[in-house]
Structures are given as C-alpha cells and as structure tokens.
Symmetry: C2
Subunit: 190 residues, 2 copies
Amino acid sequence: MQLLKERILKEGRVLPGSIIKVDGFLNHQVDIGLMQEVGKEFRRLFPQKEINKILTVEASGIALAALTALEFKVPMVFAKKAKSDNIEGGLYQCEIFSYTYKKKVTLLLSKDWLKPEDNILIIDDFLANGEALSGLINIVEQSGATLYGVGIALEKGFQKGGAMLRAKGVNLKSLAIIDEADEHAIRFRE
Amino acid sequence: MQLLKERILKEGRVLPGSIIKVDGFLNHQVDIGLMQEVGKEFRRLFPQKEINKILTVEASGIALAALTALEFKVPMVFAKKAKSDNIEGGLYQCEIFSYTYKKKVTLLLSKDWLKPEDNILIIDDFLANGEALSGLINIVEQSGATLYGVGIALEKGFQKGGAMLRAKGVNLKSLAIIDEADEHAIRFRE
C-alpha cells in the first residue's frame, strides 16, 4: 500500500537493532484518516462476504482493527493480555512469549464472543516474530471458528513471523513488508 | 444518549458488587456501528473547533476514542500502562491506583505527541473511581496542553469519580450515568 509505505519512509525512524519506530501515526499516536484508508485496503484484499468479525489483541492493534471493522460493518473483538494469575473461567487462553515485555503473557478471550459459526479476519498493526498472531490463531482454532485471513499493516520481513505463518498456509496479507532497515535506509519488499 | 442506554438495558448484566458487564458491545467485543454513533454524539457535545487531538488510555478506551477521532478528523493518542520498572526517557508519567488490577500502575505518554499548543478532548469508555481519568488529566497538565473536556460513554454515578471531576471544574459529559444497579434493575440519572 503506497500511502502507508510513503508515510513509513517520511516519519518512521530506525533505532539500533532494526527497531522501527512508527509511533507518530500507527501505534502510540494514531493517524485515524490513514487507518481508515488501511481499513478500506483490507476490505479490498479480503472481499469474502462471510467474514463476520474482526479479531485483534490489545493494545496497539485496536485502533486499526476498529477502523477495519467499520469498513466491514461487523463487530471487533480484542484478546486481552493477562496481568495476573487470577484468571476467571469462560475464557479461551493461549500463552505466548512477549518480546516486548521479555516474558510469557497469556492471551484471553471470552468464549461468549467467539463461536464455531464465526468467520474471522485477524488484524494487527505489526508482525515480527509472530508470537501474538500465533496465539490469536490458536484461540480461533480452540473456538472452532473459521479463519479467513490475517491482515497486517507493517511486517518486518527480516524476522521469522511472516515466513512461519505463510508456511502454515495462513492467508496473510501485509500492506508493507520491510526487508531491511538501518540508519541509512528502509527497503521494502517488491 | 438514548441508543446507548437502550443497549445497556438490553445487553448489560449486573454482577454482585454492582459490577456492570457491557463486554458484548463496549469493552471486549465492540459494536463499531454503535461506537460511530457515540463518536458523532461527542462531536455534538464538544463542538469546539480548537480540539486537535483525542486522548485516551489503553486498552478498552481505544476503539471508542478512534471512532470519535474519526468524527473530529484529528489524531488519537493513547497513554500506555507500564508493565515494568524499566521505563525509557522522554515520557510523561503519572502513577495511579488500578482497581481492576488492585495495584499501582504508571500511565506513560511520549512527550513527542502532547505539546503545549495542543487542545485535548479525553475520551474513555468507563468512569467509576476516576483514577485513570485523573492520571490522564495530570499528564495533560504536565504537558502544558489545554483540556477542553472529558467524554465518557458509561459513568457509574454511585462511585466517586464523576462528582470529584465535576467539583474540580472539568467539563465532563457522560452519555449514560447509572445511579443504581442490582440484579433487578439498572436506573439511569435523568
């Protein structure tokens, strides 16, 4: 998606360790007009009329997922990250490793809001190692719902998540894939 | 706001301790069409053209704040809740007590995204004791930005937050204020 790539080139910053900061428009301050365009692009890329729910995980995926759900005219549901060992019943759970927090966290989703008859599109802002997405996919499998696809705004193509999910046969579409990033330049996959 | 009140009456559940569960349309699964209507209502209630940014706090406020920002045609920024003691520089910080997690958490917001010239509308889904909102207001004060108002979807009028903020002179508007809730009925303030 040209509009997103141009914005990344214009305002993204690369920190040591190929950390890509896009927190002025994607995941801390959020450009809602841009997210609306991203939502329209996901609607174009995933035209299946059966999709009846958008799934994401807190926190930075929520704004993008909400604007995407607006285009699909369906509800959005977000998995929570457990902050305590005191987890109530009636929840799908999946433990993942969080590279952000450098520890295990548990994704939680109420069984009330994901059912076998649901047709799910997962939306997230970032894909790097794919831990959070694998957790969401695991929760969809637990529920018996059907996964129609995964839409990502920005994929770090030099980390393992994208290749792993595509090898599994997931219908993954990323609007911008960065194959190389250092202090000199950001290079997108063609 | 009649539409929101009707939805609360239809789908809200009251658990022991006057806990109001609205997680089917407001803060776990989210009815995006309803959030769009809520955003339009906030635009009507806060018509000031100077408002140039919507501020909220992760996680459950983000969807509502995003749809509100869409109506205002301005960016949205969300404060993060610190999960570790390892907090980087360049951040506004405010420690609050979280009744959800029953411990202190620190709200964080990058200084890049809140400036003295900003005119802020705070949006959140829930107001109970007012801890998170007081933290957000404190961060706005730290930044030197101007607070134009606070818009809330659902206020628990029998807890102290609303009265405390109004006594402080905050321009607080809640779309539904519940004064009493038990297993028999939910009573809204007129």
